[in-house]
């Protein structure tokens, strides 16, 4: 493929995916427990001729939920792409590495410590949650690093195994802490842990958005280095890349993205795993293209997943994490199967 072609293809894919995402947002904005016509939505958004019900439904229920879905999708998709690049393993996923579990654990501990006094409503707690999540995620990464090092060399394979181990450990701690909570907090924690975005509000948006806005460009700028990481360790060093440092920066960015997402939406799995695979099939192997496309695909996945989750079993709702795993896994298996046939 020539370079010009590839760039053109990249833009087409990116625009198409974003378009699909916007369409999905539109559908999920207009449909729901009661339907609002397109005209009314536009009127409400542009503040022409407003009615109180429409204001309430759109601004307090539907819009924050969609925005959170989009943010979380972008964050998880990009974090997944970066992680797969760093570990050179197409099966790496923030969930499998135990980062979700760690961020989840520290958020639950946070809920436990401040139980009752904050009630999860104030601005302070909304901002503090991602911070706590980030600290937990950072702890997980430090542990991962310490345990996955072998004879001073960093072993990507070992990283995944350690991740699985840490994930179940953190899960157990979360379970233990959540059982010590009072029933009200416990309810909140379980709803949140199962990966749902239905109680989203603007505070969550405000808490997660800065992380995404700051960290996404950093990861994108490092895309060239992610490309180089695909070579073997010695060649990368030979080219003059400070592998250790670059890897640490990228990992920190990933943890930041994932923790921000987990702290507002609980653990939504598989986005970080599947989005990079789709992106690679669409735009080739250059991370310069993969990273933004991953973000867009992640956004589409979460927004559509949430839409399905809230409509298909209405009035009951299915957490978006579950919807994505049900749809995502068969597709992922199909991808693996195709990859094998090509060999």
């Amino acid at each position: 493929m020539r370079k010009g072609d590839q760039t053109a293809r990249f833009w087409t894919v990116l625009l198409l995916t974003t378009g699909i995402g916007l369409a999905a947002m539109y559908v999920s904005l207009t449909n729901g427990t009661f339907d609002i016509s397109a005209l009314d939505v536009i009127r409400t958004l542009l503040r022409i001729d407003t009615t109180r019900e429409h204001d309430l439904v759109i601004f307090d229920f539907r819009l924050p939920r969609i925005v959170i879905g989009a943010i979380v999708g972008i964050g998880l998709g990009i974090a997944g792409a970066a992680l797969q690049g760093i570990t050179k393993n197409a099966l790496a996923d923030p969930g499998i590495l135990g980062i979700h579990a760690a961020a989840g654990m520290s958020v639950v501990i946070c809920m436990f410590l401040v139980s009752g006094s904050v009630k999860g409503a104030g601005w302070a707690s909304a901002i503090a949650m991602p911070m706590f999540g980030w600290i937990g995620g950072l702890g997980a990464i430090v542990l991962l690093y310490m345990l996955a090092r072998h004879n001073g060399e960093f072993d990507p394979q070992r990283l995944i195994l350690v991740g699985i181990a840490l994930g179940s450990g953190f899960g157990a701690i979360t379970l233990y802490v959540s059982l010590k909570m009072n029933p009200q907090d416990f309810e909140m924690a379980t709803v949140w842990l199962s990966g749902s975005i239905y109680n989203a509000n603007w505070k969550h948006v405000a808490a997660a958005l800065p992380w995404i806005l700051i960290l996404t460009p950093i990861v994108w700028r490092k895309a060239g280095i992610l490309d180089l990481f695909q070579l073997n360790e010695l060649s990368v060093k030979g080219i003059g890349v400070r592998t250790g440092r670059e890897r640490q920066i990228l990992l920190l960015c990933c943890v930041g993205l994932v923790s921000a997402c987990v702290s507002v939406s609980g653990s939504i799995g598989f986005v970080g795993l599947i989005a990079p695979h789709i992106a690679r099939r669409l735009v080739g192997i250059h991370y310069k293209y993969i990273v933004p496309v991953c973000g867009a695909i992640g956004m589409v996945m979460v927004v559509i997943g949430d839409m399905i989750g809230k409509t298909i079993f209405a009035p009951a709702e299915l957490p978006v994490g579950i919807v994505i795993s049900i749809i995502g896994v068969p597709y992922f298996v199909y991808l693996l199967y195709r990859a094998r046939k090509r060999r």
Binding site: Q157, S168, V329
Partner: protein
């Protein structure tokens, strides 16, 4: 090699003595094991939210009194519980040992390989579409589910290049497990049986049903017998498929039998007590460390250690957060996670066991 291996290599009088010593050692292990099991049962029956004296336990067993509350607690709750814990520990440890030997993968175990999740999935289907099925049918469905989970994970592993490496298999197991879990949760919340299902999901040693234990015994005997029969061949398999073939073994047949045994044992333990992680992973390693590479010894040893381990975890779980009980999964993870990390640290990444 361990002393057993050496003794088989010796000849003459020395060999005779060594063999005699080996037998003596086997006898001693059996006696010590039995003593430990009895001790564990006694401790487990006596301690809990309500401490019960030794004399009361004795009376409850041999002079049961319908009016006495302590006696009722012991007969209907404590004894089934400790028996269940012992059995399930043994089941899971043996299936872990067989899986590790068969796949030559030091991470293989029923909970990581999606076997338990498969079982939970089919149980969910069964609860949704056939409410009110008997316990016996549940056990059968649990077996079918285990087979399904194992089939999916191993089938996928066959499809992938290098699919049987510890890492790919572990990741596949996790993915399939999450998937089956997700589908069951979706079905459960759609048909509004979540509460019944979560009753199955969560390890529930504390409400062991004596009738279920009695029902499961024929399966348990079949599973154990099968495990002991295949164990000699598993030793050959653990040296590699080529070696096993060279020894004139029918690999497909043996692997099938081994999987059957794993499926029976895991299926029963999920039917009895839900998902309990880490037993099947850790115990076989400890057993291997103690008795060497021969699966004829690893299998019974795993059973013994697994039984004791789970019973003790159960006992500890009653005291971590006294007077409330801690989920058994937390306790097994407490020991399991550090051990798992240690394994990874010492065994390394992509190599086979």
């Amino acid at each position: 090699m361990e002393p057993y291996g050496v003794s088989e290599g010796c000849d003459g009088a020395v060999g005779e003595i060594m063999r005699g010593f080996g037998k003596l050692k086997g006898f001693a292990v059996t006696v010590i094991g039995a003593v430990l099991v009895v001790l564990t049962i006694a401790l487990s029956v006596m301690h809990g939210t309500k401490a019960i004296s030794c004399a009361a336990v004795w009376d409850a067993i041999f002079r049961f009194d319908n009016e006495n509350i302590d006696h009722l607690i012991i007969q209907t709750s404590r004894i089934p519980r400790v028996i269940g814990a012992l059995l399930i520990g043994a089941f899971l440890a043996v299936s872990g040992a067989l899986m590790q030997g068969m796949t030559r993968n030091y991470l293989a175990s029923p909970s990581i390989m999606g076997v338990t999740d498969g079982s939970v999935f089919v149980i969910t289907l069964c609860m949704v579409f056939m409410p009110g099925t008997s316990s016996m049918t549940m056990i059968v469905f649990s077996l079918i589910g285990s087979a399904l989970g194992a089939g999916l994970v191993f089938g996928l592993a066959r499809l992938l290049p290098g699919g049987f490496s510890p890492i790919t298999l572990a990741v596949l197991g996790t993915i399939i497990g999450t998937f089956l879990g997700g589908v069951s949760q979706a079905l459960a919340s759609y048909y509004q049986v979540s509460q019944n299902i979560s009753f199955w999901y969560n390890a529930r040693l504390h409400q062991m049903d004596p009738a279920m234990i009695k029902l499961s015994i024929p399966f348990a005997i079949a599973g154990f017998a099968l495990a002991l029969i295949v164990s000699r061949w598993v030793t050959a398999l653990s040296l590699g498929d080529d070696v096993a073939k060279g020894l004139g073994l029918n690999i497909v047949f043996i692997k099938g039998l081994t999987m059957l045994s794993v499926v029976i044992l895991t299926g029963i333990s999920v039917a009895l007590a839900g998902k309990i992680a880490f037993i099947g992973l850790i115990i076989p390693h400890i057993a291997r460390y103690m008795v060497g590479q021969d699966y004829r010894k690893i299998v019974p040893f795993s059973a013994l250690i697994g039984a004791l381990f789970l019973a003790w975890c159960d006992l500890i779980s009653r005291f971590i957060n006294h007077p409330f009980e801690t989920p058994i999964g937390v306790v097994t993870a407490l020991f399991g996670v550090p051990f798992f990390l240690y394994l990874i640290k010492t065994r390394g990444g992509g190599k086979h066991a």
